[in-house]
Every structure is written in C-alpha cells, then in structure tokens.
Amino acid sequence: MSTPASNQNPNDTNQESSNPTINISMNVGSSLSEVEETLARIRSHKGVEGVIIMTKDGATIQSTLSPEQTNAHCALLSQLSVKAALIVEQLNPDDELSFLRVRSQQREVMIAPDKSGYILVVIQKIA
C-alpha cells in the first residue's frame, strides 16, 4: 500500500504533469481570526458563559470574557491545570492528564490541556 508523499516534489512535473502526488503540509498554524471563529462556535452552544485559550503559565491568548474576569480565571485555572497534570503524572508516570472538569452548584468549568502547553477553558452554566 503506497503511503502519501510527505515532501513537495516540484520535479514531479514532467511527462506525468497531469498527476503529481502533491501533499500539502498538514501542520499549518492558525490565524487570530480562525481562533475567534472557533471560540464563537463554542460560545454558541447552550449555556456557555465564556471560553478562554491560555498558555500553561496563565497568559491569555484569546478570551470571550471581560479582561478582569479573564485575568481572574487565567491565573487560577492555569495553576489548577498544571497541578492536576503533575498529580496524574506523579501517581503514574505513564499516565497524562486529558481533561479536567470542575463542577459547582452554579457552573461547570471544563479545562482541556494539551501537551503543547496551551489550555482551552470553557465555562458553562448548569441547566
């Protein structure tokens, strides 16, 4: 079974010009507008109060909350996330944190960390 070519082959355009096996790199970054689109999508779900993207250290990349609220959440949640990740890894070195949900009486905070160091946080009101 042939595997897709992972490199660009500009030299492929010879007689077989009708059929180059071009594979455009998959790992392109995003743009701020794409990030906004994604945040808007998530925000359109029922009950979602806010969405934040931050780094592991608590620096905000993008947020739908007001700056004061964002700041309040960022520091606290990034620490919580880092701590939770540490706990999981210490208890079992093979394991890693995949998701974190903090449910209170009024809302639920869902935290999706990523190995790359970014964190997506969604705050949802409990119906």
């Binding site: 079974m1 042939s2 897709p4 992972s6 660009q8 082959n9 500009p10 492929d12 355009t13 010009s17 009708s18 059929n19 180059p20 096996t21 071009i22 594979n23 455009i24 790199s25 998959m26 790992n27 392109v28 970054g29 995003s30 743009s31 701020l32 794409e34 990030v35 689109e37 994604t38 999508r41 998530i42 779900h45 029922k46 009950g47 979602v48 780094t55 592991k56 250290d57 608590g58 620096a59 905000t60 990349i61 993008q62 700041n71 960022c74 520091a75 606290l76 990034s78 620490q79 540490l86 998701f99 869902m110 999706a112 990523d114 790359s116 160091g117 970014y118 997506l120 969604v122 949802q124």
Partner: protein, 665 residues
C-alpha cells in the same frame, strides 16, 4: 572563557545573597507550624549554602526526594511542589545540555526560584539556555525561530516572575487566597503563538473535544447522576407517531454543518470498519455553482506548480476554517463523528463533485472518492484536506487514457479489500489495485449506457450492474482467475439477465443489493437459498427481489404506493430477511420478508427528511441506518424488534417463497 568565568563568580555572589534571604523565608515558614519535611528542606539548603556549585546541585537533587512520600499537608503544598518543578526541570536540563551550560542554567534556575523579591533582575546572561517555561518545545523553538527569542525570554522571565511571586505571596499573605501576577501578552506575541503548528493542532483537537461535551443531548448517565429524588418531577411523555417509526426507531440524530453542507446534496455514505462511530459522506457541488461542464484539464488546479500550491496553504482537515483555496469547493467529503452533530470530524475537498466514496478497506486513516470528472481520489486524515493521490484525468492530448473519461457512478471494494471496481456513466467498468490509483488494472466495457448501479457479492466473485435501461448484468470472475490473486484475466464472463418487459425494470436501476455473505460460489454461479437473493430498485417505482440462481427474472416486485422513485435499497448486514428502502418522498421503508412478502413493516414509510433520500447504508452491526436527505445526514437507531433475528426467520422466509411457488429453494 573569561566572561563566563566572571559570570560564574558573580553568580556565586548572588547565590550567597539569595540563600541568606531564603533562610529568612524559611524561618518565617517554620514559625507557622513546622513539619519535619520543611526542616529537612531548610537544613538541606543550609548545607548546600556552604558548598560549591556542584555539590549544591547534587544536594538539591537529593533533598526533596525523601520529602515526596511524606507530603500530606496541603497548606504549604505549593512550595514543595514548586521545588519539584524545579527539580524535574533541572533533571531535564542536566540531561540535555552541555556540562558548562548545565551549571550556569541550573544555577540561574535555582537563583531565580529562591529569589524572593520581584523587583531586581540580576540575570547576568540572557541566553537561550534560560529554563524554558514550556519544557521540551522550546528546544525546537530556540533552534528554529530566531526572531522569537526576544519574546521567548520575556515570557520566561515573566513566568519565572510569577513563580517567585507565588512563593513570595504564599509566605507573606494568608494561605486561602491565591494572588498571582500573570503575564500579559501583547497582540504581537499572541500572533506568534497562534501561528505555530502546535497551536493549530491544539485548537482543533481541544475544540472538538469541548464541542462533543457541550452538545445538547447528554448521555443517560449524565442525566441521572445528580438527581434529587425528593423533588417533584414533571414527566414529559413524548409520543412518537407511527410516521416517525414508533416501535422501530429508537433514536435519531441529524448531522449537518451549515458552513459546509448547505446547498449541497449528499451523494454517498460509508461507515468506517475500524471506528464504529465514523461515517464518510460525499457531497455534490453547491447549488450556487454554475452548471457542470464535462471534465476539462485546464480547470484542474492540480496542474499548478508546487510553489503555487504552497502559497495557497490549505488548513488541516480538522479545522473548520475555510482557508484561501476555493471557499466554495466543488467536491466535498466529510467524515462525521456520531458524537458531534454540527461539526464534521474531518473535512476533505477536491476539485470535482464527489459521487461515490468509501473508507479504505484496510487503512483506517484513508478515504477514497470517485468524482464527477472521472477521477478517483485518495484522502489521508493526516495530510490535510486535499487528496494525496488521484487517478489521471480522462481527457488529455495523449493517446487513449485508461481510467474513466466520464463521471463515476459507483465505487465498490472487491477482492476482500485489496481492489476497487468503479463504473462510469459511459458504460465502462474499471478494476483498480489499491496500491496504484493512477491507472486501472483491468478495464471492461459493459453497456452503451450509464451503469447506474453496482454491487459486489461478498466473496467478490460476482459483480452485478444495472444500467439506465433497466437491464441487469452479472460479471463473474472466470473460474481460473478466481483462485489466483495476481493474474486477473480480463476475460470475465458477462451475462445479461434476460427479462421480459413486464417483470424486469423498465427504466434506470438506482441500486442493487447483494447479501453480505455468500452470494455466489467459486465456480462462478450464484448461491442458492437465502444468501443468493438480490434486491434492486429503480426509477420505475418498484423494488424487486431476484434469485439469480434459479431464474433470470425477478421473483417478487413491490410497487411504491405513493409512486415515488426508489433511490436506494440495502439488505441488513445481520438479519437475513430484513432490508431497507429509501424513497424520493423522504421516507424510509423497512421490510421483513419472513413476516410478510407483501407489506413492509413500516407502513407508508418512516418519515426522515423533507427531501428525497438519496442514499442509505446500514451500519456494520445492523443496528443503525444512515440515510441522507438533501444535505442532512440522518442516523436512526433501530429497535430490537427490527434488528433481532427471532427464531428461524430465514427458513420462514424461504417457506414463504416456496409456498407462493416463486421458486423452489
């Protein structure tokens, strides 16, 4: 070397200073309720204060380890954890970097971590060896992105600032609040992060995860775990009408994404064999496009040079973002996840509307599509939206090109998953090997008109085709080549079913369905019994049952009461007597030949959508049906009434047939 020696000396001086301050902090901490562990920590650090840099490092590496199992107190837990952070990161740096740099970097980390005051920055050298706040990633970043160094170090400093503030505030303020200074990023810095590939990857994966959890319909467990039984509950009974499949349909969901699917008609469905929750759906071009020309080579962007294509970077297949290439592409195939109804799992595009599509039979991350231009394309989930391989376009200046010159009408997997067979509107059939999609392995002209339907028997030794005129053909592998895997003779036995005008279809056959198992045996004949039954349906409002082992005419014909075109029909993969029909009035019909040879289970049909049901596919386990109506994908879960085999239904069905003298099984 000289500046480095100075740096080391100045470091030592700074270190001494800081150790003194650290001892002050420790003293304060000890006042608040001493535990053994803190004393060991402070004593170990005191020890280290006296020795050289190397011993200090060793000491620090050794000290917190005994503290680990005894950590039960949560009050000052941030500091020991912080120490572990430091230790772990030091482990990394010690292993990775060169000896000299090791010492400097670890010293700087230690110095920074114990520095109580935020205001003074006494960092001698700002090198790339500054402990990165993000761990492994920054090794790559520092090597590749030179221009990011400035921002990198800023972030590092700020991050370390915050860690310090952490320690500081913990020591000074009350323990219930977490007061922290967080770094502020400028929008330039944000852009930088956002444009890295890792960010794109994270955004797609994390946002999909979130959306699945946010989706309205929670699972049963979600509903029930937090119920307060003392409160009154108002019960809402939802009555499912017979029209909606009461007793037969247990659940239904609609999959649609306005951004991508609106204005298009879905043309084909395939369930994934490896991931039971994934479906591949191919779509035609949106209504707003101009009418389709016959395939012409000049319009094909694949002939652009590689650099031109590079400049039109297409986003990841997981991204919802349209990107710069063809915001409205002609060909679209979406992979849907049953868990997420408004956002596809993957998005595949190509240059011509997709008429037929299938997941690759053996590689779970590949998908195959057949286009209006006659091309076969191959997509890879890992490789983004555009196809990674495609067959040659039909019309070129060269001599007769193999492959299809006309729109592909059907695509099926044959040979147990190692070959493909495709048909087109010209009447040509092509056999392809999956390792080479550029040209077919074998080619065969069947009829002079559109081959509108294609079905492969389970053991791949016979292929049934239907054409625009209502004729049914069967193609058998000749007995010799049935056993050999490599040499395929193109001399296949073709046979046209001779039916009298009253019994056969009198216009286009839209679908043929053979059974999952059996179908025909190796000697090239159709199987007898229930396994050899074939269903066809057509534009002449009828669905017909054939038993090719016994007769060349259909044995049974069902006329649609509403005189609607029948668009698709398929046997259930698990139940030998049940099949489903898709009609152009938007209704789904369910039949069980063991219970009745005349009437369907579903009466007038189960209402599915407002538009004609183009295509229908049972899931592999026979418990769900996926059916498309316009641009919507409906997945219906069926009740056990329909799906479970009750007793000897197969024999019952055969008895039904023989009692009506239709054929003798």
């Amino acid at each position: 070397q000289q500046p480095k020696m100075d740096a080391v000396a100045s470091r030592r001086a700074a270190l001494e200073d800081k150790r003194r301050r650290l001892e002050q902090i420790k003293a304060r901490r000890n006042q608040r309720g001493t535990e053994q562990q803190k004393q060991t920590e402070s004593s170990s650090s005191e020890n280290n204060a006296a020795s050289s840099l190397d011993e200090y490092i060793d000491g620090l590496l050794a000290a917190p380890k005994p503290a680990l199992p005894t950590q039960t107190d949560a009050t000052d837990s941030t500091t020991p954890v912080g120490k572990e952070d430091v230790v772990q990161k030091k482990d990394e740096t010690v292993q990775k970097k060169k000896q000299q740099q090791e010492q400097i970097s670890t010293a700087s980390v230690v110095a920074v971590a114990h520095r109580p005051a935020v205001e003074t920055f006494e960092m001698g050298t700002q090198t790339d060896d500054l402990l990165p706040a993000w761990g492994d990633d920054d090794d790559d970043k520092n090597e590749n992105d030179e221009d990011n160094d400035g921002t990198q170090n800023d972030v590092n400093e700020e991050a370390e600032e915050r860690k310090i503030a952490d320690h500081e505030n913990d020591n000074n303020n009350n323990k219930d609040e977490v007061n922290v200074e967080v770094a502020e990023l400028t929008s330039d810095q944000r852009e930088v992060y956002v444009q890295t590939p890792k960010f794109g990857q994270f955004l797609h994966v994390a946002s999909k995860k979130m959306e699945k959890l946010l989706i309205d319909t929670p699972s049963v467990a979600e509903y029930l775990w937090n119920v307060d039984y003392t409160k009154e509950r108002t019960s809402e009974e939802v009555k499912i009408g017979a029209d909606d499949g009461a007793g037969m349909v247990s659940a239904r969901a609609v999959y649609q994404c306005n951004e991508w699917t609106s204005g298009r008609k879905a043309t084909c469905i395939d369930w994934s064999n490896t991931y039971k929750e994934l479906l591949l759906v191919g779509y035609h071009q949106p209504k707003s496009s101009t009418t389709l020309p016959l395939p012409t080579p000049t319009v094909d962007p694949s002939t652009m040079s590689a650099s031109a294509q590079l400049s039109n970077m297409v986003p990841n297949s997981a991204s919802m973002h349209k990107g710069s290439i063809a915001a409205v592409t002609d060909g679209l195939a979406l992979v849907w996840n049953l868990a997420l109804t408004n956002r596809p799992e993957h998005i595949f595009t190509c240059w011509s509307p997709v008429i037929a599509c299938k997941f690759h039979p053996t590689e779970p991350h590949l998908a195959i599509g057949g286009c209006h231009s006659g091309q076969i394309v191959l997509w890879d989930v890992r490789a983004g939206r555009l196809p990674v391989q495609k067959s040659a376009l039909g019309i070129t200046s060269n001599a007769a090109v193999r492959g299809h010159n006309y729109p592909i009408s059907a695509l099926e997997v044959t040979d147990g998953g190692s070959a493909l067979v495709t048909s087109d509107t010209e009447g040509k059939l092509n056999f392809w090997s999956l390792s080479n999609l550029r040209e077919p392995a074998e080619s065969l002209t069947l009829s002079s008109s559109n081959i509108s339907a294609l079905s492969v028997s389970a053991d791949s030794s016979s292929i049934l085709c239907g054409d625009d005129n209502g004729s049914l053909y069967s193609i058998m592998a000749s007995s010799a080549s049935a056993t050999s895997t490599s040499a395929r003779s193109s001399k296949r036995l073709q046979k046209k079913f001779e039916t009298s005008d009253e019994t056969g279809h009198f216009s286009m056959i839209t679908a043929i369905a053979t059974k999952n198992s059996g179908g025909s045996n190796r000697s090239g004949q159709f199987a007898k019994g229930a396994a050899g039954l074939v269903l066809t349906c057509g534009v002449d409002w009828t669905t017909k049952v054939w038993a090719p082992a016994y007769s060349e005419s259909p044995v049974l014909s069902f006329l649609s009461h509403s005189y609607d075109y029948m668009c698709d029909v398929q046997w259930s993969p698990t139940h030998p007597c049940v099949f489903a029909t898709a009609s152009s009035n938007g209704r789904l019909g369910l039949w069980n030949l063991a219970s009745s040879l005349e009437e369907p289970l579903s009466g007038d049909g189960i209402r599915v959508g407002g538009e004609a049901l183009n295509t229908l596919r049972w899931s592999g386990d026979g418990r769900r049906i996926a059916v498309t109506s316009g641009d919507e994908l409906h997945v219906l879960g069926l009740t056990e009434d329909v799906t479970k085999v009750k007793g000897e239904e197969e024999t019952q069905m055969m008895e039904n047939f023989s009692s009506r003298k239709l054929f003798e099984p």
